[in-house]
Amino acid sequence: MKSKFINFLKGYLIIEVRGGYIERFINLSLKKGIKITQLKKTDINCIQLKISIKDFFKLRGIGRITRCKINIAHKSGAVFLLKRYKKRTALFTGVLLFFVIVKLMSSFVITINVKGNNVITKETVLSQLKENGLYRGVPVNKISPTQIAEKMMASNQDIAWIGVTINGSRAKIEIVEKKEKPLIYDDETPYNIVSTCDGVIESLYLKKGFPVVQKNDIIKKGDLLVSGVTDSNFLEARYVNSDADISIITWEKFKSTMPLTENADNFTGKKIANRHVEIAGRKIGISRKIPYKYYSIKTKETKLPFGIKYVKIENFENVPKKIVHKEKEVIEKEKKKMYNKLIGNLNENYKIEESQVKTTNDGVNVTVEVLYKITGPFCEKIPIQK
């Protein structure tokens, strides 16, 4: 197989030799060091043989001596193929261009994959990478992954470890995020427990410390709930790291007004797209007139290497439509919004209940007023300065 391929590359000929002294012809050509293969007798005074192109030129003298006529029956090999396509320059330039483009495309970073980020958003990672020299369209040989990883770790405190690997035109970024430090209250320093909102104490189970308030007491934000210091006139003050399970009820009021009628988007499905290329601040492209009275615009920019920008502007026809909402739907929607807003800051230790709902409808707007009752540990530990 290998030798066949090499033979094809070098090129070979199948020739016919005609004459009276064929045996002499063979012996003379062997003496000259010519390698002959596939030697066959086709007629009484005719043989057919396979020979390389190099050796063919040595045969001429031998043909004259032995009075043999040499004819070429068949040519094959890469040399003859190239000769046949010599005039087709476009074909060769196409082949060359293909390799050049493949090489060019593989020498730039095209995609960046970010993995392992939960708290940090992909956008912030990408923007920080861009500051440190890794972005779409940067030449691969200009990047040093270890340096970028070190810079990223230095600039972003939330990253514990970052791995940057570049495979061809693909950059793979793996992130391990830092976990938040747990709050540790050491026993050496004393703490007070203080409320973080106004409300009523629902329950108080003391573990350590000296209680200041009782069940059903009304408290204000910043009030001392459990003290870490003994309050005695006779004894020396004792300091304790106070600890207690406290549940506090608080109320929060939300109010919002919403119009019953609304102008909503109504896309007709027609669109006209204008495209242009920006090179060094100059725009090149055709812009068509937009025949719509109402339309909304969507622009998309793609950055190409060498500072070239490709901009696509799509104009969608958008005839606004009036929508009349039902009162019940608006109220439910608003309530859901408020609830989501409230629950966003709280964890599973807090309970939320609706205690009062008030709605007013003046024909144009609907006003919703909700009073929420929230039960939970609204308190924090504060160290005592001795």
Partner: protein, 86 residues
Amino acid sequence: MSINEKISNALELPKDLSMNYPKMTVMGKSELCVENFRGVVEFNEGLIRLNTTTHILKISGNGLYMKNITIDDVEICGDIKSISFE
């Protein structure tokens, strides 16, 4: 017996190397490889005569052809019937 032959007999050297004797390898009925040959005497589809260092080698058969020839060895293919020396 020549001195060369005596020496090679005494030292048990292979004769195809020391004396340039022809060495023939027959592969079944279809292939024959001759080393140390000295040229083609006759070449036909039914009969091939090769000159070697010691004898003339006669190969008869049907549809004989030479697959590979160099200055020292030749590979003959086809339906071989007999190999004889003249």
